[in-house]
């Protein structure tokens, strides 16, 4: 955060963007509930009512942030899928990992997107972005199922289960307390394991961190259906 002292110019230049940036920083540091429009204005060296020129109220600012975040989320997750190649299951796994990674890389965006209050007051633009988000996941889940994954489940169940899990993992890893007390070494590996548990719990671990897995038993059988991806 760069503070410019008493502003030399009457007009800020790009207060709207500055507000969104600072809001994201505050949300990432102290959570969405601690956001205060007046504090934001103070941080940026403008008067307490200046933000109202750009956002009618707090919900409006959060809506804008959520829209930005939702679009960024879509791009992030889609890019991960593309990078994963053509196998629908690998694509779906990559999206699951990207979901969790996004929540850690952009906690402010993620918390805003996921906040029930924000979602409840979504305008048409945000609703549209949410819909796109939902569609991209649904489509990928459908493709994964078509490739042989969980053939007996309804697509709604599959999607709900997948989202619930990545959402839960994101919430747990994003909670400063939980992650502080459980001393996680390697987030990437943890995310991989969580997504593997969603997609193919019967498969044996591929690259194993000796500290985080159990003793090697099981000579070869047991996971007869392994290697689905």
């Amino acid at each position: 955060m760069t503070t410019y002292g008493p502003s030399l110019t009457y007009h800020h230049g790009n207060l709207r963007k500055a507000l969104l940036d600072r809001a994201a920083a505050v949300i990432a540091e102290q959570g969405i509930e601690c956001l205060s429009l007046r504090a934001l204005a103070r941080d940026l060296g403008v008067s307490h009512a200046a933000p109202s020129r750009h956002f009618t109220d707090k919900a409006d600012l959060l809506r804008a942030l959520a829209t930005e975040g939702s679009d960024k989320f879509i791009a992030y997750v889609f890019a991960a899928a593309e990078a994963a190649g053509d196998n629908p299951l690998e694509r779906y796994a990559a999206m699951g990992k990207a979901y969790i990674r996004f929540s850690l890389e952009y906690p402010a965006y993620y918390r805003t997107i996921a906040h029930p209050e924000v979602v409840a007051h979504a305008d048409d633009e945000l609703k549209a972005s949410e819909k796109r988000r939902s569609l991209i996941i649904n489509d990928a889940a459908r493709a994964a199922q078509a490739a042989g994954w969980l053939p007996d489940e309804s697509i709604d169940d599959i999607v709900m289960f997948s989202i619930a899990t990545v959402r839960g993992v994101s919430a747990m890893l994003g909670d400063p307390l939980h992650s502080r007390q459980s001393e996680i070494r390697d987030y990437e590996a943890l995310i991989d394991r969580m997504v593997r548990l969603i997609i193919d719990p019967a498969a044996p671990q591929k690259s194993l961190n000796p500290a985080t897995r159990n003793d090697e038993k099981q000579p070869g059988g047991k996971n007869n259906e392994g290697d689905r991806m």
Copy 2:
């Protein structure tokens, strides 16, 4: 909510309990962020500072509610496990279902327990209850693994995966928007399916709701390891 009009007695009788009850009602209806000590006092017909005799501040009230809720949660989940019999996997599944059911039956308790801010300001009593909660789940997960479930995963991973999923499902079902737009008929059946996906995704559905599952294919093979519970 029963309002007694201008109180006839100077003393309320049991304001502490009344505050907790009313707080739970408000949280269930409007969410934890909408809770206001002054509104609570108004609802109960006492002065705006009366609550401070029982709770030093808002966090203190939420802490009390969370402690109550955490203890109730433990009893609820433990009872479900006991009712499920001796099979560790069935017990674990019953606990998972109970987790989600608790969040729907006691949304105020659940939201309070799960609120990061509340957890962050936990006192020793609440921390102790949280620890018991954590232990009961860990033990059950260990037993389930000892009974053959996911033998290759670390217990921490198993617990994180399980909790993340039930937590995510609870969040999704507890969000008025999500459940309003997705028209869920039978919560019990949905919860069963979600927990089955955690514990034994390869197993075929047992009692099937034709509307929520796919066409029956798969004559018999494929789920060779089924019926673990």
